[in-house]
């Protein structure tokens, strides 16, 4: 396996007590302290530390830098980057200008970062997912077909936001999600007679448990619930009670009708997988903070059955009171799946 490479270059000044004492670079293995060896100006670049690296205690600098020493070639498998001559860190420069009571060789050298072929990922403390997608929903009861005709599935828009946190070093991530989904089927007439159509909008709140089995592959299970707003079809698609023709050839009284609105809850359980761009493919070798991928899931959603009732949308003044039917109960529970793209910030 080729581990991702993280590299941070810092200008450091070391003071060696005996002349000719080997530098850490000469030892062949250089480790860099995670402690603030960097100056304030370098603080924006966070060092990436190997888990087994040992921190080096800071060395007191008591002489100004007089010599710039190029670090020797690194041992095989080790990359040593020389310090650029004259490079100074404001902080260290000030320190080096102070007099030293010990006559030691003063060196200004570049601190090197050794990047191992071991994985040096950026620590993930949280992850924020922004997803957008689409998919279908297939109720298992045929009563649902009244809204879609031959199609028991309807298209949908799916937008969600999730925040998850790692559970130790287990590779598990647990988090919560908030989503918005819209289902809208094609225009369909019940028995060719009545244009029944609902637009469903739902807001979901849920929890997700995922496990990063690979860099770029994360299966998960998801439980969610929330309200579903069942709203009748667009106004221009509702039917009219009467399409009769009066003596003058015009339309007689018209009573526009629609399906009664409903607001109901739902509970959904899904299992899916997130496939995203492995972090080591991205430019930042120590682990990108941003990645993207696709999210595919399938599951079952339970919804309470409800009565589908026809109502007058705009009662016509003076019209004879008209009763409208209840089509019966719709069982809208069924299989759901979705696929989409997501952007992850971590």
């Amino acid at each position: 396996m080729i581990a991702s490479i993280s590299l941070v270059t810092s200008a450091l000044v070391f003071t060696f007590a005996p002349a000719g004492a080997p530098t850490t670079a000469e030892a062949g293995v250089v480790t860099v302290s995670p402690e603030p060896l960097v100056s304030a100006g370098e603080a924006a670049v966070a060092p990436v530390i190997s888990p087994d690296s040992q921190p080096i205690a800071p060395v007191e600098l008591n002489a100004p830098p007089a010599l710039a020493v190029a670090a020797p070639s690194a041992a095989p498998g080790v990359i040593v980057e020389p310090i650029v001559s004259g490079a100074q860190s404001p902080g260290t420069l000030g320190m080096a200008s102070e007099a030293s009571s010990v006559p030691v060789a003063q060196l200004e050298m570049a601190a090197t970062r050794v990047v191992e072929e071991e994985v040096i990922p950026h620590d993930i403390k949280w992850r924020l997912d922004l997803g957008v997608g689409g998919g279908s929903y297939a109720a298992l009861d045929e009563s649902y077909g009244v809204f879609t005709g031959e199609m028991t599935s309807v298209g949908r828009l799916d937008i969600d936001v999730g925040l998850s946190f790692p559970i130790g070093d287990s590779g598990l991530y647990l988090g919560g999600r908030v989503g918005y989904r819209m289902f809208e089927s094609g225009f369909y007439d019940v028995h060719g007679l009545f244009p029944a159509n609902y637009r469903q909008q739902e807001i979901s709140f849920g929890a997700r448990l995922g496990v990063a089995v690979l860099d770029g592959v994360e299966p998960y299970v998801d439980m969610a619930g929330g309200p579903t707003l069942w709203r009748s079809a667009r106004d221009e698609e509702v039917d009219l009670v009467s399409t009769g023709v009066d003596e003058l050839g015009g339309m007689s009284t018209l009573v526009p009708i629609a399906l009664a609105d409903r607001t109901l809850g739902f509970v959904k359980g899904t299992a899916g997988v997130q496939l995203y761009i492995p972090r080591h493919w991205l430019p930042r070798k120590e682990g990108s903070r941003v990645t993207a991928g696709i999210d595919v899931n399938v599951g079952y959603v339970w919804r309470p059955s409800f009565e589908v009732t026809v109502v007058e949308r705009e009662p016509v003044e003076g019209a004879i009171e008209t009763s409208l039917p209840t089509f019966g109960s719709v069982n809208a529970s069924g299989v759901t799946w979705s696929a989409g793209l997501f952007l992850r910030v971590m």
Partner: protein, 532 residues
């Protein structure tokens, strides 16, 4: 933690899953809600409208109750059979359904006549053995005779003279083949007075099967014994087809009951006296006929029988008057009406405070309606018909009750008339829509009218002749009076989803009306797959 590389192969697999999943969302099971509804009817009972839902093998009973509509569905048969026709019972307290196989491949279907009570919705089934396409009901509602009427046969191999006699009192069924002389049954007639006719001391319920050139007389009370053996070819013309059949029960004047037949193709009225059949070949009681001819001349268009003072008369409507023939002696006299006559009926009336009978006669497209009092009539002397002139010519005429008739104008379809003989009152009425006599009904001394294709219902008080009208929200295609509940129901045009308006027949007003839309679709989602 360490990660493993996500290789090219894995990516291909992931893309395949994604594409497959996306495509799976584009297919689904076919829903049954895209099937077109095939609902025919309605037939009106005394309290509901009954529709035949062929899509679901059901009948749909829509019952208006206090501004609501109670809809009940009743399963009839299954996919192998279908309701081929419906008809209300005589007093409209139920509906009769003929359930037959959907096609010749359905060999296990037993053809049934099903009676559904309008109130309790209880079904009573009668196995009738053949897919009959016609039924005639006796006026008292006791019998129904199923037969094959004219038209295309309902199955390739068919006994056209097969019939089923259903007794709705004891729920028995008798299957017979009309044993005639080769003709095909055209009609079944229950002659007025033919029920319970005393023939040689035995009560018989007489029905007449009419065919071209022959009739067959059947005792419905015992068709297996007194069945089609009494067929009789009585006419010299092979094309004889009775246009009117009358029964004259026995009385003190003539002990032998008789049936009278008249045909426009013959000059005589044929009288068949029903007598006991002697020397029968079996033990069953039988009857036979003794034919006779009453010479009434050509052009008789209608006949009546009337019991005068010790004289049994046959009244023949023909030409410009009525020929009175003594059935016993065949002596006759003619009363000249001075105007052409075609049709007649007898109404009960009073003459000088005593019960009497009055003949009402008219001619289609004529300008007068004529009446003649029959009490104590013995000759034409002193008998002058009364005439009621119609400002427009007479079109269709409907007898509303003993005293009143409704006459549509022959010339002006916006005019109609109500004539009250008892009060000698004539009420011309006009309406803003073309009047259709078929959609007029009398209920509780009210004449209810409505013309299909329009959106107005009318009511006329038959005492005051005060009209009331209501305009509905939409044109209707049929109007129905539900006598048991006093409702007037208009089924609107284009109501393939079910759309009707229910009005209080005793008080036509929009305030008391209620419309019901979409009742064909009620509960549609509660059906499971097996029910569709």
């Amino acid at each position: 933690m360490n990660y493993r590389k996500f290789g090219t192969r894995s990516w291909r697999l992931a893309v395949s899953i994604f594409v497959g999943g996306a495509l799976s969302g584009c297919v689904g099971d076919s829903g049954y809600h895209d099937e077109s509804l095939n609902i025919v009817g309605p037939v009106a009972t005394d309290r509901s409208l009954v529709f035949n839902d062929k899509t679901h093998d059901e009948i749909l009973v829509a019952k208006p109750i206090a501004g609501t509509l109670e809809v009940t569905r009743i399963k009839i048969g299954n996919e192998s059979d279908e309701v081929s026709w419906m008809q209300p019972t005589v007093d409209r307290d139920g509906v009769l359904l003929m359930n037959i196989a959907t096609d010749a491949k359905q060999e296990n279907v037993v053809e049934q006549l099903i009676r559904v009570d309008s109130n309790t919705l209880v079904q009573t089934s009668y196995d009738v053995g053949a897919p009959f396409n016609a039924i005639k009901l006796s006026k008292d509602g006791r019998y129904g005779v199923l037969y094959f009427g004219e038209g295309l046969p309902s199955q390739p191999l068919q006994n056209v003279n097969q019939a089923a006699i259903v007794n709705f009192v004891d729920d028995s069924v008798h299957l017979i083949t009309v044993d005639g002389f080769g003709g095909s049954v055209r009609d079944v007639v229950f002659p007025e007075g033919g029920m319970g006719m005393d023939v040689a001391g035995v009560s018989r319920d007489i029905a007449v099967f009419v065919a071209v050139g022959e009739v067959v007389i059947v005792d419905l009370a015992d068709p297996e014994v007194n069945d089609t053996q009494v067929g009789f070819r009585f006419d010299t013309s092979a094309s004889f087809l009775p246009s009117h059949v009358l029964a004259r029960p026995s009385d003190d004047l003539i002990e032998v009951p008789a049936l009278f037949f008249v045909s426009s193709s013959d000059a005589d009225v044929t009288m068949l006296s029903l007598v006991e059949k002697l020397n029968g070949s079996d033990d069953g009681e039988r009857f036979t006929v003794q034919p006779g001819l009453l010479p009434v001349g050509l052009g008789t268009t209608d006949i009546e029988v009337y019991r005068g003072n010790d004289v049994p008369y046959l009244l023949s409507i023909r030409g410009y008057g009525v020929l009175f023939t003594n059935i016993t002696t065949q002596g006759s006299f003619f009363v000249d009406f001075g105007a052409p006559l075609e049709t007649s009926y007898l109404r009960a009336s009073e003459s000088n405070g005593a019960p009497s009978t009055e003949l009402v006669a008219w001619d289609y497209a004529g300008s007068s309606l004529h009446t003649l009092k029959l009490r104590n009539i013995e000759s034409a002397l002193g008998r002058t018909p009364q005439s009621i002139n119609i400002s427009s010519r007479i079109g269709d005429l409907t007898v509303l009750d003993d005293d009143r008739v409704l006459v549509a104008s022959y010339e002006n379809q916006f005019e109609f008339y109500i004539i009250d003989f008892e009060r000698d009152f004539f009420a011309p009425l006009t309406w803003g829509v073309p009047f259709d006599l078929k959609s007029a009904t009398v209920m509780n001394n009210q004449l209810l009218v409505g013309v299909p294709g329009h959106d107005r219902l009318g009511s006329i008080d038959l005492d005051t002749f005060d009209p009331t009208e209501i305009e509905l929200d939409s044109p209707f295609e049929s109007m129905h009076v539900l006598s048991a509940t006093g409702r007037l129901v208009a089924l609107h045009e284009g109501s393939s989803y079910g759309y009707l308006t229910d009005v209080d027949a005793r008080d036509l007003s929009r305030d008391g009306a209620s419309s019901h839309w979409g009742f064909f679709l009620g509960g549609d989602l509660d059906r499971n797959e097996e029910e569709n």
